[in-house]
């Protein structure tokens, strides 16, 4: 494989960039694989990459209905963080932060990981207390956390509304300085290119139509491009999880909902990190191009439409204007939606299933992108070793019936209703 570097860039400039190697091939599916990963998004591509790299399993196919990176890995707001309170979620995502820090070098692809920090704003004494507790929990797990008072926040985001008239004054905030953003497309493409180089078949425009399960064991899958035998099958299909679960006669603790995001026209740099509004559904960061990247909450009803509804955008931006009045003078460039696999406690599931050889990776809710590397890493381990790794030992499917929920927000089930 051609290595990407400044020298290869200069070399190819002489031929007008016409002679670059293709980054990944377009193979026809073989009749049999050791492992088939369904879903060519960030998590599926990362899983295939770590299967090949960490476990030397290279007879692997990724089956993607559309094109790789066309789903949530290309639709998220690119935020990477590990500011979790529960030990399990904190350890899992902090391991992921270590993978992020080295990802550009490892993949020989600039994913533009930029640890520019995230601030969760607090608007009451009670919220400050809750953030102090969360920050302490994070630090006990070795994650950097800084409790900021009002003046410290003002230094970092002076453009926020610090006047006396606001309904929700800023009391302070909790900051994770090592959190940040990355270029989401590059993550998908970087993993795809390396996985392809190690022998993984990336099969696009191929829809899974059914499964062959014999005596409780997976034998293969049926697709729009023919039947494919497989010793093991992993599901990484986010918002489409329930569609495939139905074909397997499985019911899961998951509902599919649409989440929207939007970007403004590009402006000069004014916002350094990521900021979340603590009194409404709104968060914001500024892309390297200068666009303000904003998001909020779900549209609020079950949806498989990869587009949303205007009332939610209005609701989200009302919160945005309360925090950053300057937004009123910006034009909106785009809004879009992605479909989220909302788990009932807000935490993901990476586990085996009752069907031998079938593995499940789902329930990412709003936060799948930040976990892309660690999700792939642990899912690859779970598939290769046929057992969960210590890192995903609490992300089990049966935690709902045993009562070992990971309700990070402490809001109970179906946190999106209300």
């Amino acid at each position: 494989m051609q290595k990407y570097s400044v020298f290869s860039l200069i070399k190819n400039a002489f031929s007008n960039h016409q002679n670059w190697e293709v980054a990944w091939k377009d193979p026809t599916p073989k009749s049999e694989y050791d492992v088939v990963i369904i879903g060519g998004g960030g998590h599926g591509l990362a899983t295939a990459y770590y299967l090949a790299k960490e476990h030397n399993i290279r007879n692997v196919a990724i089956i993607e209905k559309g094109w790789i990176g066309g789903g949530n890995v290309g639709r998220n707001t690119t935020i990477i963080r590990s500011n979790f309170m529960y030990d399990s979620n904190a350890r899992f995502n902090e391991f992921g932060m270590d993978l992020w820090r080295n990802l550009s070098q490892e993949l020989n692809f600039n994913v533009m990981f930029s640890p520019r920090g995230i601030i969760n704003l607090a608007h009451s004494d009670a919220q400050m207390n809750a953030y102090a507790r969360r920050g302490n929990s994070m630090r006990l797990n070795g994650i950097d956390a800084k409790l900021l008072d009002r003046d410290e926040v003002k230094k970092l985001i002076p453009m926020a509304d610090f006047s006396d008239e606001v309904r929700f004054p800023i009391f302070g905030g909790l900051m994770q300085p090592s959190a940040g953003t990355a270029r989401h497309d590059a993550v998908a493409w970087g993993y795809a290119r390396q996985a392809d180089d190690m022998g993984v078949d990336i099969i696009q425009h191929c829809e899974v139509t059914g499964f062959d399960v014999v005596n409780g064991k997976i034998k293969g899958i049926r697709t729009s491009r023919g039947d494919i035998k497989a010793k093991k099958v992993g599901l990484c299909v986010a918002g489409s999880t329930n569609i495939l679960a139905e074909k397997l006669n499985m019911t899961l603790p998951i509902e599919t909902h649409v989440l929207q995001a939007c970007v403004s026209e590009p402006v000069k740099p004014l916002l350094d990190g990521v900021v979340t509004f603590g009194a409404g559904h709104f968060y914001i960061s500024q892309s390297d191009k200068g666009e303000m990247v904003m998001g909020g909450d779900l549209d609020g009803y079950n949806s498989y439409a990869q587009r949303g509804n205007l009332p939610t955008i209005q609701h989200v931006l009302t919160g945005g204007l309360a925090l950053f009045p300057f937004l009123s003078r910006l034009k909106m460039l785009r809004t879009w939606g992605g479909i989220m696999d909302m788990s009932m406690d807000g935490s993901p599931i990476i586990d085996k299933t009752h069907i031998e050889g079938l593995y499940l990776n789902c329930g990412w809710c709003y936060g799948g992108f930040k976990s892309t590397p660690v999700s792939g890493w642990t899912f690859a381990h779970t598939i290769a070793q046929d057992k969960v790794h210590e890192l995903n030992s609490e992300l089990r499917l049966n935690r709902f019936s045993t009562g070992h929920l990971l309700d990070e927000k402490g809001l109970g089930t179906k946190t999106w209703i209300g």
Partner: protein
């Protein structure tokens, strides 16, 4: 914007309603022994189909009644609405 026909008030904008989830889930009977599997199915497990979905909405900024709505989860087309005591087939 969705427009939902409230069986009590007529056609109203989505902003007047709040969502209540899958209407086909049945709570286990009161005062009977309930297996943990049944509780599990009631509290956590959802089919979440792509296509026709019967769901609960509350006309929170109107008559405040709970209603049933049959809606397509991919196209958002609303086929039918009914009082919560009525069946949608």
């Amino acid at each position: 914007m969705l427009y939902i026909k409230c069986p009590y008030c007529g056609l109203r904008a989505q902003k007047e309603f709040s969502y209540g989830g899958d209407a086909t889930v049945k709570r286990p009977n009161i005062n009977e022994e309930v297996s943990s599997e049944d509780w599990d199915n009631f509290v956590y497990m959802r089919k979440s189909p792509r296509g026709k979905h019967i769901e609960l909405w509350q006309h929170i900024a109107g008559c405040r009644q709970w209603i049933k709505v049959q809606r397509d989860t991919a196209t958002h087309e609303i086929f039918q609405t009914a009082k919560v005591t009525e069946e949608i087939r």
